[in-house]
Each structure stands twice: as structure tokens, then as C-alpha cells.
């Protein structure tokens, strides 16, 4: 499916489900999302992450709602648990089936997002391994001087921001030296097409959601 439309559908579902509490709709879309993921042959570790990641927050909400709230509402507790898993699984259908590059290209061409946002964010995402290394380095450098940088140490963030300023300068220069001009019309080396079935999937998904939300508990 076209990445932009897929993202739109997932966001639409997540948003609407946040304001309604229907168990059926949550479960149906949760199962659909899992089927989509099954088709993409995730690795075992990815499944483990998807299932264990949201477990604790879901459990906490469930216990609070069912055991400690005035209504002791089991139905609503289940709604919340299924909603959280729906967020995660539906989100994963986007992040695990497309690459950041494809999503950026699609957002630029299909959704007509200004290119600087698409590629600016993409370039930052691609620096991720360097970012992780840099954070470890900052901490290690401080440790060598006998200083432990905590989550709440301004110095840690200060040093990280200095690095970010440097990198953003260099990246912007690099992108511009490759002929990128802001707001200038661009040609696409990899045109992203929107097929008819992309639209069918999007509209049918939204229609099914409405039907489920209105007609089922």
C-alpha cells in the first residue's frame, strides 16, 4: 500500500479509537493489523518487542480501571488494553513495512509535504547510529573526569545540542551542495504511485471502522 495513505489510515484509526470505547472495533482492527504483520515475516525479536513493550502500561491501566476505580468496569478495562495494543500493532504496520526513505518520498510526492520537512527529518533519522554513539561518548567523556551525567543533568543535553547544531549545519550544506533548493520544483527519481486499490483500502478501512463503531458494542 502507498505509505502516505497507509499512514493516514493508521492515524485515522488510532485517533478515532481514542475517543470511542468499542471493544469489537478495537479487536477487529487489531487482528487485521496482526494479519498484515504476519504477511511481512517479522523476526522473532520484533514480535517479542511488539508484545512485551506495551504489556506493562496496558496492565497498569487495566488494574487501575478494574480494581481501583469506582465503576470496576471490566469492559472498559479490556477496551483500554486492546486500544493500546491496537496503537502499537497498527503503528508497526507502517514502521515495519516501509523504510524511512520510502515514507519521506511518498510524503513529498503523494501528500505534497514541503521537501525540506521530508528530507530534513529523513536526514536526521539516518544519523541515528551516530547519535547513539555520540550520547555514549558524551557520558564516557564525563566519566573519565569523574562526573556522572544523569537524565537530569543539563550538561548532557547542552553537549548534545552543541553536536546537533554542528550536524544540522553540515547536513544542510551537504544537501544544498547536491543541488537541493528549498521550495523549488523537483523531479522524482523514484516516482511513488498511488494505485486504485490504495484508495479502495483507505476508504473501505474507514467505512468498516464507522460501521463497527456504530453498530457493535
Amino acid at each position: 500500500m502507498n505509505p502516505s495513505l497507509q499512514l493516514l489510515l493508521v492515524l485515522w484509526i488510532s485517533f478515532e479509537v481514542s475517543f470511542t470505547s468499542r471493544l469489537t472495533a478495537n479487536l477487529v482492527f487489531l487482528i487485521l493489523a496482526i494479519i498484515v504483520l504476519l504477511f511481512h515475516h517479522l523476526r522473532f525479536r520484533q514480535w517479542l518487542w511488539l508484545i512485551c513493550g506495551p504489556f506493562l502500561p496496558a496492565l497498569a491501566l487495566f488494574v487501575t480501571i478494574v480494581a481501583y476505580s469506582p465503576g470496576h468496569d471490566l469492559h472498559f478495562g479490556l477496551v483500554l488494553v486492546s486500544r493500546i495494543y491496537l496503537y502499537v500493532m497498527a503503528g508497526a504496520t507502517v514502521t515495519f513495512t516501509t523504510t524511512p526513505l520510502k515514507l519521506a518520498q511518498s510524503l513529498e510526492q503523494t501528500a505534497h509535504l514541503p521537501a525540506k520537512f521530508a528530507y530534513g527529518t529523513l536526514s536526521a533519522v539516518n544519523l541515528l547510529p551516530k547519535i547513539k554513539q555520540e550520547v555514549t561518548q558524551i557520558k564516557a567523556a564525563a566519566l573519565m573526569r569523574g562526573v556522572t551525567l544523569h537524565l537530569w543533568s543539563p550538561t548532557l543535553y547542552f553537549k548534545a545540542i552543541l553536536v546537533a547544531i554542528n550536524w544540522s549545519d553540515q547536513l544542510a550544506q551537504a544537501i544544498e551542495s547536491h543541488g537541493f533548493v528549498e521550495g523549488h520544483p523537483r523531479t522524482a527519481a523514484h516516482p511513488i504511485t498511488v494505485h486504485w486499490y490504495d484508495w479502495v483500502l483507505l476508504t473501505s478501512g474507514i467505512i468498516i471502522l464507522q460501521v463497527l463503531l456504530i453498530a457493535f458494542p
Binding site: S14, P57, P154
Partner: protein, 189 residues
């Protein structure tokens, strides 16, 4: 230069800051899980979310204080969330929605003071708007509407304190360091 114009460099900078913060408070996930585990038997498990909320929202106010332009707080928070989507965080695309909500919440705090002051008044106003708006969002999303009143009040108080410490005091300390190092663009405006 057009005051509300964001160049390629600004976009990259904001996204980078968001992602770097995401990497740093990945460690916050551990705190979050530990606090949640500890509080769940007391019926306050949901408060784990409120405890660490201030951490997640830091990129927004910081971007607002750094660039001092309308829209920078929102973009800082939102682009960070967009980047974290691929970081392997547990929330995936749902990050975009929370990012947008948190971004609007923070931006509102700067709007309230008319983008003219960047001092403790601003800190207080962003703390308040971020707490209230994200709390309203959780009212629907995380079912806070069903909580008993004492739990609800506890969650709100914890979130307010967390917001003030991280998005307020810590952001102010970081901006002070940046100002002393003369790295904040147009710091004199």
C-alpha cells in the same frame, strides 16, 4: 529574515534535537517501567506515565527557547516524534499523534505570553498548558475519565511536578548554558 520561516537547517536541527532527546530518555523507559511496576499494586500504575511525562515533552519547550519563533515549539516536539517513530520506540505511528498533541500544548504556552517573554513567566505558562492539554488528551486516550477522584488528582499533581522539573527547571538550566556559550541563534531578540 521572515520570522516564522523555517529553513532546511532549522528543520534538521529540530528533528535532530528531538531524536537525540529520544535517545537520551530511552533510559527513561526503565524508570517508567520500574515506577509503573511499583505503583500498580497501589492502584496508581497509570501514574508511571505522569511521572515521566515531563521527560517526553522536553524537546518542545527547548526548541521554543532556542529558536524563539512562533511554531518552533510545535515543530520541535512533532519532528522529534516523527523521528522517534523509526527509533524502535514501543509506540510507533501513535507517536505522531501524541507528538502533535504535546506540540500544540507547548506551543500554546508560548502563544499565551505572545512570544515576547522568554523567562520564568513563559516557563510557568508552558508548564501549565502542557500539563492541562496532555492531561485532557489522556482523559480520553488512557481512560482517565474512569479513574476515582483521588487517583486522578494524584496523577495530575505528579504530572504537574514532572512537567515543571523537566520542561521548566531543566529546560531553563539548559538554555542558560546555551546562552552563556553564545550558541543560541538570535539570543538578543
Amino acid at each position: 529574515m521572515n520570522k516564522s520561516h523555517f529553513g532546511l537547517r532549522d528543520v534538521i536541527l529540530l528533528a535532530l534535537i528531538g531524536i537525540i532527546f529520544g535517545v537520551i530518555y530511552f533510559a527513561g523507559d526503565f524508570v517508567y517501567n520500574a515506577v509503573t511496576l511499583l505503583l500498580t499494586p497501589l492502584g496508581l500504575g497509570a501514574a508511571g506515565n505522569d511521572f515521566t511525562m515531563g521527560l517526553w515533552c522536553m524537546a518542545g519547550p527547548l526548541a521554543g527557547f532556542m529558536l524563539k519563533r512562533p511554531g518552533s515549539a510545535f515543530l520541535g516536539e512533532f519532528l522529534g516524534a516523527a523521528g522517534e517513530m523509526f527509533l524502535g520506540g514501543q509506540w510507533g505511528a501513535a507517536n505522531l499523534i501524541s507528538g502533535a498533541v504535546q506540540g500544540v500544548a507547548t506551543e500554546l504556552g508560548f502563544t499565551l505570553v505572545g512570544y515576547r517573554f522568554y523567562n520564568w513567566v513563559t516557563i510557568l505558562s508552558t508548564t501549565l498548558t502542557t500539563t492541562i492539554v496532555t492531561f485532557a488528551w489522556d482523559w480520553f486516550r488512557n481512560g482517565y475519565s474512569h479513574f476515582a477522584l483521588p487517583i486522578l488528582l494524584a496523577c495530575f499533581a505528579i504530572r504537574l511536578i514532572s512537567m515543571f522539573l523537566f520542561c521548566g527547571v531543566l529546560v531553563k538550566l539548559i538554555t542558560r548554558l546555551l546562552e552563556r556559550a553564545h550558541v543560541i541563534p538570535n539570543a538578543q531578540v
